[in-house]
Symmetry: C2
Subunit: 341 residues, 2 copies
């Protein structure tokens, strides 16, 4: 089951409006001199950029979280669209740079920007998405007071700062033979959960609800983000290549410090011994993935993910939204964690 299969009419309206909003911002590069650059941005955002190329958009999770939270809190979600676009743009900035940093070959079934246009150009594509995000959030001024716009920009930039902090830890951890499970949680709280948490919090803030309620939505999305990353880690080892668009067990080959791998190392049995012997080839990866599962790492990771998901849903319940958007938030959360790709 993908997130798409759970879409309500409300979610569909939001998704369509988000694309329109994104196209408006990205369109700032659509002038004769920079048209090829505009194509690169459009390509990364998953839009069809020429007749022979199918669209392949992302899930737009952050915009949906922001807009649904806004609507769940009684806000007019259309007025929050610049913020929704800003979060999607900054998320995509981080993906473009992350793909260079990790030397990833594909994303969403397409070759990555750096593989197609080279790392120097891809760095600039990411930078352009960043600046479009910083600009987009200011467009909130059309429907919100200037002091709210400044507060919104701060929420966005604080979330982005957490991403760069998490990214530093991720890069620094590559050279670490020993890594505590605790350090893993700190890293993914920055790299993955911070932006989701900020999206939901900002949705609530723009609806004008009190800080205590904003905090409940923030915690809902924070724990959802942790559960989401754990699921991502599981798919990175045991995912179906046809669905994920990545080669099976790719995280083993890349020696990524993901949760199942850390749990396997902690266990210190078959998998840990094989890991210590050095790099794992693609051909060998499925067998090593089985060893890791046999050491109980898949089960323990599943359980850790479920625990985070439970915390997320508890906070959502405490926030007490009973309208359609509130229901839809719960469905979105479950779809994200149940996904196979």
């Amino acid at each position: 089951m993908t997130a798409a299969s759970t879409h309500s009419a409300l979610t569909d309206s939001m998704l369509a409006a988000v694309e329109t909003e994104l196209r408006k911002h990205v369109g700032r590069f659509d002038s004769p001199a920079t048209r090829p650059f505009h194509e690169m941005l459009a390509y990364h955002l998953g839009w069809a950029t020429s007749a022979d190329e199918a669209a392949s958009p992302g899930k737009r999770i952050r915009p949906l979280l922001l807009l649904l939270t806004n609507a769940a809190c009684g806000g007019e979600w259309q007025h929050a669209l610049p913020a929704a676009a800003a979060f999607e743009l900054i998320h995509n900035f981080s993906l473009v740079h992350d793909d260079i940093q990790d030397a990833s070959e594909t994303r969403r079934g397409r070759v990555t920007v750096w593989r197609r246009w080279g790392a120097p150009m891809a760095i600039n594509v990411g930078d352009a998405l960043f600046v479009l995000s910083s600009s987009a959030i200011l467009d909130l001024g059309e429907h919100h007071a200037a002091d709210i716009v400044v507060e919104a920009a701060r929420v966005l930039h604080d979330g982005t700062l957490e991403i760069t902090r998490g990214q530093y830890l991720d890069l620094a951890y590559e050279d670490r033979a020993d890594l505590a499970i605790e350090e893993y949680w700190t890293m993914i709280a920055g790299k993955t959960a911070a932006l989701l948490a900020a999206s939901a919090r900002l949705g609530a803030l723009l609806a004008g609800v009190e800080p205590a309620v904003q905090e409940l939505y923030r915690l809902f999305a924070h724990h959802l983000g942790l559960a989401f990353q754990v699921q991502d880690d599981i798919l990175g080892i045991w995912g179906d290549e046809a669905l994920t668009g990545k080669s099976t067990a790719s995280d083993l080959v890349a020696r990524k410090k993901s949760l199942p791998i850390l749990l396997g190392l902690e266990k210190g049995e078959g998998f840990a011994k094989r890991w210590a012997e050095g790099s794992i080839t693609e051909a060998e990866a499925p067998r090593v993935a089985e060893m890791l599962a046999a050491d109980g790492a898949r089960e323990r990771a599943d359980s850790a993910g479920r625990e985070q998901m439970q915390k997320a849903m508890d906070h959502l319940a405490r926030a007490g939204a009973v309208n359609e958007a509130g229901q839809e938030l719960g469905r979105l959360a479950r779809a994200l964690v149940d996904r196979k790709a």
Copy 2:
């Protein structure tokens, strides 16, 4: 003569205050888990990061332009410090990424961030400087109304958007055999002049002067930026290695599409013939630089730079600042264009 030799007490006060402001923002990464990352930012900003390493800061041109313009317009420059820091941070973001994109080995006499810590980490250092910049500008709210803060953020982000546009052109031009002088000016207007122009304009805006006066300062800095880049291009071929910290004639070896080179190609004589024969070694570069000068390219570039400088000073004169800060702006401009490094 360097910019340093023309410093007045006012400029010295501003420079000291800018460093304090910068340290405050960069200090957000100075926590135990990210301390090594904080060191990388500090290193790039030119601060001494350990006992055996001398400080090597940049010229802080954008902060000075912003603060001096603000003071020239009667503003309280201390209240503009968050904006001054934001412009210096975004400038340094672009330098860190530019060094990766151009594979530059040294900057300000030190090895570049990517050479020292690798490209993946350097991408993240640049990203962190970007987000610190976006956050810093919001701190204007301490002394300015929220609608001014939003306007200031827009000026900053629009300037940054021009940088990414210019950077795209710069990268795209690498593969172009034919490049018109006109296209060169468009590229450096984005890459170099846009941020200087935005700095000066924002200094005026924060002082509360009318838009027509803001525009005069913007044009002053725009033309100064063009003159500055032309001087940079001249130093990139005929500069003194001991002063610039870069190897002599390095732009010839890198086959950079700088103004003197484009002028030499346009001339179609000795230099153009040598260029067409293919890459130039470091050993050969001084002789090729002489050929380029013999073809009149140095003289023509000098003249184009002087013309831009004249336009800059004309706009500054029309802005009509007569106080100390206004005088200092003129001195700063002349020092930048007369520099040898």
